[in-house]
């Protein structure tokens, strides 16, 4: 299928884009709990070009969803965005008023949440829920034009026009998920964040939904951030993979490099733990458990589980640096300091 191009073609697509569409600058989010302050996102920097697809992976609690919510400015108390900026298409979202932010959601940046299919209102027809978004964002558009636009959006995700008049319970899980994607792309946002969009679906439907996202993304030229812990899905879908651990990026690499020669020891362990057809019966989990955000180990947060731990890792936190073209890693194995 032509929507799933080979890697070489994907990389040439990236080459054409010049201007960053999404920039995160030192984004920091904390949750204030009774037991103390948990830094769920610890100064994250990220730049993405138009049409790029980034996969964000990490264990539960590593800050993936927090990052998505922070970008949408949907962090609720006891959580707070402490500092940092989210720039989408030259607009700093963190500087917008609440009113302007409401308009920016869906038109500049949209979010397809985990288990999105359960977010549809069961007593409203699908059409009414799409129209709702249109009315909020483009109230001046004539009604029949709005409706035509909604139906085009449904058709672009492979749904028939009659879905517009149906109730959510009349649709299968995969169809509901595609309705949510249709809502997400209704206003042609620059950035689409999909938080485990297929975790509740079975493999066949999952492939169809992912191919839908892929096709739509190409049509509107949006940047996609796919959040999940299914590395298989990442291998099939994204251009770049970012590995998160305890609210920090450990490594960002092009998908090919990430799978064939991962750099960070955590990324290496993650890739090694994947089942494939060659290593039947070999189970390689990652030893140890992820630390609590309330009591992070000093230095590199991964050092207690790291097989290559050095003295410096216990004392100082490694900077997140470029070590090869297009690849960044936060590990002293790759930085000057370790060598001296």
């Amino acid at each position: 299928m032509d929507t799933m191009l080979n890697v070489a073609a994907k990389e040439s697509d990236i080459g054409q884009a010049t201007k960053p569409v999404l920039e995160l600058e030192n984004l920091r989010v904390s949750y204030y709990t009774d037991a103390g302050r948990a830094i769920a996102l610890d100064g994250v920097d990220l730049t993405l070009m138009a049409g790029e697809k980034l996969g964000l992976v990490g264990e539960s609690g590593s800050g993936k969803s927090t990052m998505a919510l922070a970008m949408m400015r949907m962090i609720k108390p006891p959580g707070r965005i402490e500092e940092g900026r989210v720039i989408v298409d030259d607009t700093d979202l963190t500087a917008l008023s609440e009113q302007d932010m409401l308009r920016a959601r869906l038109s500049k940046i949209s979010y397809i949440p985990q288990g999105a299919m359960n977010s549809l209102n069961p007593v409203l027809r699908v059409g009414a829920q799409l129209m709702d978004a249109m009315k909020a964002h483009v109230p001046d558009m004539p009604k029949d034009e709005m409706q035509a636009h909604c139906i085009r959006s449904l058709e672009s995700v492979d749904l028939k026009a009659n879905v517009f008049k149906m109730f959510p319970h009349e649709l299968s899980g995969g169809m509901k998920q595609r309705v949510c994607i249709a809502i997400g792309i209704l206003l042609k946002p620059k950035v689409i964040i999909a938080d485990e969009p297929t975790s509740a679906l079975d493999v066949v439907t999952q492939r169809q939904v992912m191919e839908t996202i892929d096709r739509v993304q190409k049509q509107i030229g949006a940047t996609v951030i796919l959040i999940g812990h299914d590395m298989g899905l990442m291998a099939q879908f994204v251009d770049k993979v970012a590995v998160m651990y305890t609210g920090r990026f450990m490594e960002i690499s092009p998908v090919r490099d990430m799978f064939l020669k991962p750099a960070h020891p955590y990324a290496q362990a993650l890739i090694r733990s994947l089942p494939n057809l060659e290593n039947k019966g070999v189970f390689q989990g990652i030893p140890g458990i992820a630390p609590s955000l309330l009591s992070l180990p000093g230095g590199c947060a991964f050092h207690p589980r790291c097989p290559f731990v050095m003295d410096i890792c216990r004392e100082q936190r490694p900077p997140f640096e470029t070590f090869q073209e297009n690849r960044q890693v936060a590990c002293y194995l790759y930085t000057e300091k370790a060598r001296s």
Binding site: M1, D2, T3, M4, L5, N6, V7, E59, S60, E170, S172, G173, G174, M175, D202, V203, V204, T205, Q206, R207, Q208, M210, E211, H229, D230, M231, G232, L233, M234, A235, Q236, F237, V255, R256, F259, L260, A269, L270, I271, S273, L274, P275, N276, L277, K280, G281, V282, F283, Q284, G285, I286, I289, A290
Partner: protein, 337 residues
Amino acid sequence: MTALLEMKNVSKVYSRGLLSKISTTALDNMSLTLKEETPTIVTVAGESGSGKTTLAMLLLGFIEATAGQIIYKGTDITKLRGEERMTFRREVQAVFQDPFSVFNPFYTVDHLLSVPIKKFKLARNKQDAFERMEEALTAVGLQPNEIIGRYPHQLSGGQRQRINVARALVLRPKLLIADEPVSMVDASLRATILETLQNLQRSYGVSIIYITHDLTTAYHIAESIVVLYRGQVMEAGSVDDVIKKPQHPYTRLLIDSIPWPDINRRWGETEIEAKESELSDYSKGCRFLARCPFAMEKCQPAPPPLFQLSQFQAAACYLFDQHPKLASEQLTELLPV
């Protein structure tokens, strides 16, 4: 030699409505035998609605079969009474999908382990009970002193799921029914749980029915696989044959759709030929008919029988009708142990 568990032409039909006869066949004429002396891991795979959870519920005796018999050590499980029933309850254990909701948040996790010990009177005294708990936790790769006395919220999903396995193990089961045990656990922890299950089979002689939609994990843990679609067996055999050389159009679709974590094996090399079906297609014939790219006339009147393709592989599809037919009762012969 009596089998540990024998399913004989088991069907389960759910009917809806008092007057109208709307019914859904969740499981259609399934036969399967597990032998006591050769513990094995059998995967039952299929998408949602394929009847795999119905199968688990039937085997655990939670629901009754509409037709056919499930025989445990020579006795129909619906006819088990008194002590025999307790033995069945003890020897057939389950691990469910969600490691979060099975714990009562008000009790420490030892509660989950100590209740079955008390109920089945497995320990003579407190010390004995504690030792059994420790032994089971160690067997699943946990440190007892790190776990006992903790509350569920203090443990990770992977740890909790292993405690569930330990709970089953405390009872010295003969058969473990694992219904999607790793689907809600982080990918990085799946490997450890699968390893734990495999150890159970190897070191404790427990047979495992591993129910999943994830064929990658199935391939790694199981010896044999049965692929279900809407209650019918589509393909069965050894995991190596079925997953590496799938034959039935449905199995091929399933395997092609797996997002392999392998950068050199990508989606798109094989196009999805079968599309999502409408919700209401319940033909008398092959259940996969509406989605099948190779649908033929003869698929309509009745579901195709299994055709044996090799010693350890058979597919229920008329595409293979040049091969010898296999009665559904013979399914077990296809499954290597």
